[in-house]
């Protein structure tokens, strides 16, 4: 990866290269580990403010691409209007708050419900929060941390807490609330609160933890000297999805074990460019290992930022097609499962094409329970689609043992279905041969088998027969090779049974 430095890397902002030593820049894990250490060592603290400032603008750009209703847009415009600016609240702080408000609304599908005309501007919210902290002196931290206290900021926190008390609380919520990230990724930090906990009374430790938790929101007010620091902390304590700040196009895939770090997550515009790059690279190099890894990280970035739109569909569709082409059915199945959810939300894409693949896939895996579900998914409208109709016909031909029809369909498969059918066509050839050997006596011309079972030539047919039985079954007579069906006995039945053993594919549900 470091051997060829792509042009975009050299254009990376100066802030970035100053923050990270160049050697560490390309790979992501080492950077992450370093950052977590930096959390508690003083000298690196200085780098923290520099990042949000440089990433704030692409951030809002990314958001702006999502379709927002006009009232939201005008609300945002009012936020940035010069006459509405408050001296004590810096622009980054305001932006952070605004992002908070909109993300939360979008997440909860309340974009259309909130009265944007009357909602206080983010700068006002920040001020209110500060006033509240001033009104409650630090000794009464208890009171301010009670969810009962009114106000926009606390209301928001309350909703998090409320969610948490319910059992179905998603992991990232728990993580943020318990500062899970601190505990998991920085083992050294865990000791400190433990020691204080042993020394001081329990309630004091609780107070300490509350204060720490509060720093995320109130930090901006308490230390106005580092205003840009607050978005950074707020992102940690954030309740919503991550908003990425990473500008790198390529990124290796790593399985997440803790809350994602916004610095290593790419926002939508970057992801779009990344996809173009990947498409180009796939065409040029065709290196599947690399492409698959890149797509997985792309999907991960989409997920942690909860981006669900046409672009998401496109990413999954392309990855699914590439995986199909390479016969990587595990990966294909993951994409297919996700696509099913995405199509259900009417985000565009090619639902019928993939419904057809899904049916063919379940034929291959012989998962009848899932097949029943897939059939239930097919609507009357879908059945008019060529690919869906084809897949349904394939399924029914196989269910009835109609190999004649099956191989006609095989030779005329739309889209990329042939990649899937190739996976089980030999299996079905054995089934067909088992049937034919039982029914035809005393022999048949091999030409007939070639035509019925979609072989390319008599040679290929003969090879297939020899591979799966014995050579006594073939006999040359009057210039034609004949298959002695009468002598086949149960040879093909055995081969068929072996080929039909349960298919096990990694990643299968």
């Amino acid at each position: 990866m470091s051997s060829s430095v792509p042009p975009w890397r050299s254009t990376a902002p100066a802030a970035m290269s100053s923050a990270f030593p160049p050697a560490a820049a390309p790979a992501y894990t080492p950077v992450q580990a370093r950052r977590s250490l930096a959390h508690h060592t003083k000298p690196t603290n200085g780098m923290v403010p520099s990042q949000p400032t440089q990433s704030a603008s692409p951030d809002t750009e990314g958001r702006a691409r999502v379709e927002f209703p006009p009232p939201v847009r005008s609300y945002v415009q009012r936020c940035f209007a010069p006459e509405n600016q408050v001296a004590s609240v810096s622009i980054p702080e305001m932006q952070e708050k605004l992002r908070h408000v909109i993300t939360e609304a979008a997440q909860n599908n309340k974009l259309g419900l909130i009265d944007w005309e009357r909602l206080p501007l983010p700068q006002t919210m920040v001020q209110n929060e500060r006033n509240k902290i001033l009104a409650n002196p630090s000794s009464s931290n208890w009171a301010s941390s009670h969810p009962a206290s009114p106000g926009d900021a606390t209301r928001k926190r309350k909703s998090t807490d409320g969610h948490h008390s319910e059992t179905g609380s998603p992991p990232w919520r728990k993580a943020n609330r318990n500062r899970f990230e601190d505990r998991v990724t920085h083992p050294t930090t865990e000791k400190k609160p433990r020691i204080t906990l042993d020394q001081s009374s329990k309630s004091k430790a609780n107070l300490e933890m509350r204060r720490k938790r509060f720093e995320g929101v109130a930090g901006g007010g308490n230390s106005p000297s580092s205003p840009a620091g607050s978005p950074m902390r707020a992102a940690d304590a954030d309740q919503g999805p991550v908003v990425g700040r990473c500008q790198t196009l390529e990124k290796n895939y790593f399985r997440l074990t803790s809350a994602p770090n916004p610095d290593s997550v790419r926002p939508l515009p970057v992801l779009q460019k990344a996809l173009d790059l990947l498409k180009r690279k796939w065409k040029q190099d065709g290196n599947y290992g690399y492409i698959c890894d890149q797509f997985k990280s792309l999907r991960q970035d989409l997920t942690v930022q909860r981006i669900r739109n046409e672009f998401t569909v496109v990413v999954y569709e392309i990855h699914a097609r590439i995986a199909l082409e390479k016969g990587d059915l595990g990966e294909y199945n993951q994409c297919q499962t996700q696509l099913r959810v995405l199509y259900a939300q009417q985000l565009g894409g090619h639902p019928t094409e993939f419904k057809a693949y899904r049916i063919l896939y379940f034929i291959y895996t012989r998962n009848w329970t899932a097949m029943n579900d897939a059939l239930a998914d097919v609507t009357a409208e879908d059945k008019k689609d060529l690919a869906v109709k084809h897949a349904l016909d394939v399924r029914s031909a196989l269910a009835l043992g109609n190999y004649h029809r099956f191989f006609q369909l095989y030779l005329d498969t739309p889209n990329m279905g042939a990649y899937l059918m190739d996976m089980f066509v030999d299996r079905e050839r054995l089934s067909a041969l088992a049937t034919m050997c039982r029914a035809y006596k005393p022999d048949v011309n091999i030409r007939f088998i070639t035509e019925e079972l979609g072989f390319e030539s008599d040679e290929q047919t003969a090879r297939f027969v020899l591979d799966n039985s014995s050579e006594e079954l073939l006999e040359e007579r009057n210039g034609a090779v004949r298959l002695l069906t009468g002598k086949a006995g149960s040879l093909f039945d055995q081969a068929k049974a072996a080929a039909h053993r349960v298919v096990d594919i990694k990643g299968q549900i």
Binding site: Q107, N108, N109, E166, T167, G168, P170, P171, W172, R173, P241, Y253, R255, L256, T257, S258, A259, P260, K296, R299, Q300, L302, T303, V304, R306, R308, T312, T337, Q338, R340, V341, L342, A344, W368, T369, M371, N372, D373, L375, A376, S396, A399, L400, G401, N402, Y403, H404, R405, A434, T435, M436, R438, A439, Y440, K441, V444, N445, F448, E451, E452
Partner: protein, 457 residues
Amino acid sequence: MTSLGSLAPAFKNAYLNGSGPELAAVLTPIAPSEDPGRLRSFYNFSTAEYLSKDLSYGLFHGKSLKLPKAEQAAWVDIFAAYWEAIGEILRCEDRIPGASVIAVFNAWKKVANALIRGYSGPAGIPAWTLPCLYTVGKYMRTFAINADLEAASQGSAGFGFQDDIAADVEKNANLEEAARVINRMFTLCLSDRAPLEESRKWGIYNMTNLLFKTYFKINSVGLTKNLLRAISASSADLPPPEVFPKSQIVTFEYYVGVIHFLDENYTEAEEHLTYAWKMCHRDATKNRELILTYLIPCHLVTTHTLPTKELLAPFPRLEKLFRPLSNCIRKGDLVGFDQAMSDGEAEFVKRRIYLPLERGRDIALRNLFRKVFLAGGFDEPKEGQSPVRRTRVHVNEFAAALRVGTSTSGRSRIDIDEVECLLSNLIYKGLMKGYIARDRGIIVLSKGGSAFPGTGV
């Protein structure tokens, strides 16, 4: 102040009588019809602060009921959780803002957990109280389903650290949670090592059935296999099924049958479903209908038999579901069969019987070809011998039969190769006896009345 209403005497009586069902009735989250205010008066008798004191006084004060200290504490815990849950239920009933079915479910789950602790912990609640476990489990399932509906209507969205968008797993989040708790109840019953007379093993089929029901609902039929494995592993220690209440065994056998059915093990499925069918109470119409829904397709696949009019007479819905298809199969009407399949598709798929029913087409085909054979008549009788059916039939005759009815519908033409393919399938599956002599274009059928086994010719 500290009067539990009718609840305390009911509890004491049930305990003194040693009656599990009576005790379970006390733990029901629905007020009995003769005392509609019971829940409310029970909830109003105390406050969160004095709850445990009030409960231990109300339930165990006096000389009538003496229980070991640990068991008393367990019941106080159970009823404390129950009190909380009743509070949530009443809040829902009163439509107090902020009340939610999710809260009811979560509170009820605590009742279940307190109960499980009561059985497994030092309190050692005796096994005769097991009906409490079913009752609590049963209502937990109901509350969970309602909670999921409520969550879905609120459109909550949650995410884990997954690489992909969380699928529709959340749709059943509460029910899945309930399934986990019921699974603990299952283990609680199965793993009890007490002597059989006082063992919780007697609760095993009831808990299993509840769990089956839940797994089917959350579409995780695969998980039922674990239960079956666990039961069969300890089958030596379990009382034989015959000594359990019939209702429990019938339900159990039905589910086991359906599980095999979904795996396409129709022979095993038929065995279990037949057992359930024979044992099922004859007035349990709905259950009998459910059993038949799967037993009829089973029979079609395994023995090629169709349901009679008499069998389906008490079940008009099944008659409607299966009759058109059965008629077409009987007549060998392929066009009608395809039409009936596509007409009933939505319903068949919903009931998961589409795939086995589709196999009925082979039987329809067999019946059609049998007609061709019969129409072929007899060979010239040899002198002094009874006439013999013509057993050499030209492929074209079968092809003609297939074209009947299809010419008008404008379906794709049927070529001879496909006819041969259909014939060879019937021969392979044993529905027809004979062979295809391709070079001569004829089918040589078996002589002596076995050309179509089981049909008399």
